[in-house]
Amino acid sequence: MTKKYDAIVIGAGHNGLTNGAYLAKAGMKVLMVEKNDFIGGATVSLELYKDDWKYSNCSYVCSLLRPEVYRSLNLAKYGLQIVPYGGSATIAQNGDYIGSYVDPDVARREVARHSHRDADATVRYDRDIMRQCRFIRQFLLRTPPDPTSFKPRDLLEMMYMGKEAMKLGEDLIYDTMRFYTMSISDFLDEYFENPLVKASHSGSGIIGSALGVMSPGTAYVLLHHAMGDVDGSMGAWGFARGGMGAIADAMQGCFTEYGGQTVTGSGVKQIIVKNGRAKGVVLENGDEYFADVVVSNLTLPRTFLECMDPKDLDPGFLKKVRNFKIRGSSGKLNIALDGLPRFTALPEGSELARGDMHLIDSTERLERAYDDWKNGIWSQDPYIDMLIPSLTDPTMTPPGKHFMSVFVQYVPPKVHGKDWTDDQVHQFGQTVINQIEEYAPGFKDLILHVEIRTPRELEDEVGLTAGNIFQGELTMDQLLFNRPLPGFAQYRGPVRGMYMCGSSTSPGGGVMAAPGANAAREILGDLRKTNTVPEGWLDD
């Protein structure tokens, strides 16, 4: 195998794959290096229990994936299909629940069942969320400007952003400023009166975040979860047929067809720097590969603190990397089930079971779950986002059997400051299983196999520092031109020829492919090659 390439991408997460595909599409000879034996990173489907059983091991639902990337990389040709699912249910302790139905009139009546006013307020709430989403969406496939730079491109981009903001009109500008700084709990109080209605909306404000529903900044996290779409239906989510790994597989299909090569099974130990220029990589197994362009899909700390020689970097820069906010707060259970669990609150055969299910009744209860995290322990009464993809996607399990994906907030990266023990991991799993059993008696008896993942497992397998699912907290101090660090938001590293393309970069985490695409545009621009990355589609 030749050792010299035009570009090396470190990490075959979906952003690395996207990046590599666009570079290869531009005619570059690209090598992808992945430490695991499989590709995908947090966008992966693995068969851990038996051959016919697929788990979406990390990410489990899709909405953020930019349709521009989907189309320009022709992902449909490589087997990708995103299937929307219906609704969601938030189940309360008293045996009642609130459902979010696909049909707008049914949805309205369901909210009205809990609060007549809140049913109307939902119209206003949806409108305001949509307004904010429309505003952000147009920036997702654009490189953030550097506000301190006087380069024409930065000035023009700042002007563009300003112009778009002005278009919002006075009131919306006020709203936007508040949105980025408020807590999700305060935000919901401005619309709704019913605790269960509020609880049903609040989870998206804290998923993946080491913040509580009452912490400032969580309103934005909600937006981050609402700004995607499935076929133009904004805020809708879907399953990737065959699990989330289908997304990475399709991307790799495209990458390979453009001539890209992948080596798996050994990670990058160090990025080779000579005379202040990135020159290639050394793998754990000793193999060396060379290229004038080295792109990292890893988290900011992993790239610079683990894969580079500190002597090649500026101490001030390293200090900022160390201070990057990347705290784990999530865990996950992937469960093989012998049959369908029966949630007593939900009517038999309810379509709601096909969507997200949450076991929570108030924002206060959610805040308590966060208190445990602060105290260094997993939530004893956790917030879970639970789905049964096999109800929608028959390729996940044998007929009649089911795969259940249980995402959990909050799970700390360390337990009381100490590393997780295997026993604690098991106990954490039991906490979650016990909670589900309370709402679905008999659930335990259906369990055939469980994969339990705490931040420890997420870091070990995917390389997510501290297990933070978004490769870095999504707060205003770490978004847009501050992501990952001020002055480094344009995908270039501090060493020439070195680039970053992971979720640590703008616009952030989630299976979105925007960081990978944006980084490719910058690289191709620097090399004066034809740009293969599409422009964002504007919402009319």
Binding site: D105, R117, D118, V123
Partner: protein, 371 residues
């Protein structure tokens, strides 16, 4: 009887509910097609939209308006409350009278339009297209009022057309001929109260009948019996649409986007921009949107709603409007071939200054007004 009960856990099993007139609608519905209007099944056309339209213009057409959203406003401050909410002076609507009105947000953008029925001293019913309880409640601060949505507690029929008065008289509504436009009155109907208002959405002689849902079918039967020899026909929403465009009435969600739903703020409209400046009464004190509307009145509006008379015989649905020198002027919001005027007519929203005075414009393509 309540047709739709919110508190039922299994409401989701049916996305839509039969109206209290459903059994009768079903008998008349030769086309066997149903559409949805809010929580209810509605009929787009019973046998032929054009024929039903002519029943409405020439004899009598009957349309089920039960799905319309209805609120009851009572309490000592009902009037001052409504005057705060509405742009028009509600004190001018005396007991026994009905008034058309719009209500706005602080920016003077229209939230919805509807009719205010002054049922009896201090008791009002508001009928609208959109659900309003959250907005209505938000505005109660400082007012001693009581507001309930009673959409599902009242069955209602629009009885429209030149023979409508005679039919109601034959049905036994003594003295109905004395009811003046926008008047309302009560009758005894087989031991229950029937409210009749001389209102409608067709621009013709017409009435609206309001009764408890349990008496809906009897009302329908008596009405059709009385109208047998006067050309009475059940009328679907397609025919009503033709009648209302011809009459120049606007429809929420079609000719303007209700401010609560408009993701794009530029797609909202003020009363002036909808040709409803006559409903804005600055001399009555504070009301929602007053300041913004005052300012707009001084500075001028961004849009004008105009009625177009279009050459040729094609309906102009979803067209763009251009000036003679091909500058964009606006969009058609509702359009039809008018059988009565023998003309292609339309309602259009034009960007100012277009549409201020009579002028010639061109039409092209199609462009639905989006949310």
């Amino acid at each position: 009887m309540r047709t739709v009960n919110f508190s039922q856990h299994d409401h989701y099993r049916n996305a839509v509910f039969p109206s209290p007139f459903h059994a009768r609608q079903k008998e008349h519905n030769q086309l066997r097609e149903w559409s949805r209007w809010s929580d209810y099944l509605s009929v787009p056309a019973y046998w032929c939209a054009d024929m039903e339209y002519f029943a409405g213009r020439n004899a009598c057409g009957v349309f089920d308006i039960t799905p319309m959203v209805k609120h009851l406003v009572t309490g000592p401050d009902a009037l001052p409350y409504l005057n705060r909410l509405m742009t028009r002076d509600v004190s001018k609507i005396k007991p026994g009278r009905v008034g058309y009105s719009v209500w706005c947000n602080e920016q003077g953008r229209v939230i919805d339009d509807g009719t205010i029925f002054h049922l009896e001293e201090g008791v009002y019913r508001i009928c609208s297209q959109e659900h309003q309880i959250d907005w209505f409640m938000t505005n109660t601060l400082g007012f001693d009022v009581n507001i309930v949505e009673d959409t599902h507690d009242v069955a209602a029929l629009a009885v429209q057309g030149p023979t409508s008065c005679a039919i109601l008289k034959d049905m036994g509504l003594q003295g109905i001929e004395d009811l003046t436009p926008f008047g309302l009155t009560y009758f005894d109907f087989e031991g229950t109260q029937l409210m009749v208002s001389r209102t409608g959405y067709t621009g013709d002689l017409g009435y609206e009948l309001w009764i408890g849902p349990d008496h809906a079918e009897r009302l329908w039967d008596r009405l059709f019996d009385a109208g047998k020899h006067r050309g009475i026909k059940a009328m679907g929403s397609d025919a009503l649409e033709l009648l209302r465009i011809e009459a120049g009435f606007i429809l929420a969600g079609v000719d303007f986007l209700p401010a609560m739903e408009a993701v794009r703020p530029s797609h909202t409209r003020s009363p002036f921009e909808l040709g409803l400046g006559w409903l804005v009464h600055f001399d009555k004190g504070v009301f929602n949107g007053r300041r913004a509307l005052q300012e707009e009145k001084e500075k001028g509006s961004r849009f004008h709603l105009v009625k177009l008379d279009i050459d040729g015989n094609k309906p102009a649905n979803q067209s763009f409007v251009f000036t003679k020198d091909e500058k964009f002027a606006g969009t058609v919001t509702s359009a039809m071939w008018s059988p009565s005027a023998k003309a292609s007519i339309a309602l259009a929203s034009l960007e100012a200054p277009h549409g201020k005075s009579d002028s010639r414009l061109e039409l092209q393509g199609h462009s639905p007004l989006q949310q």
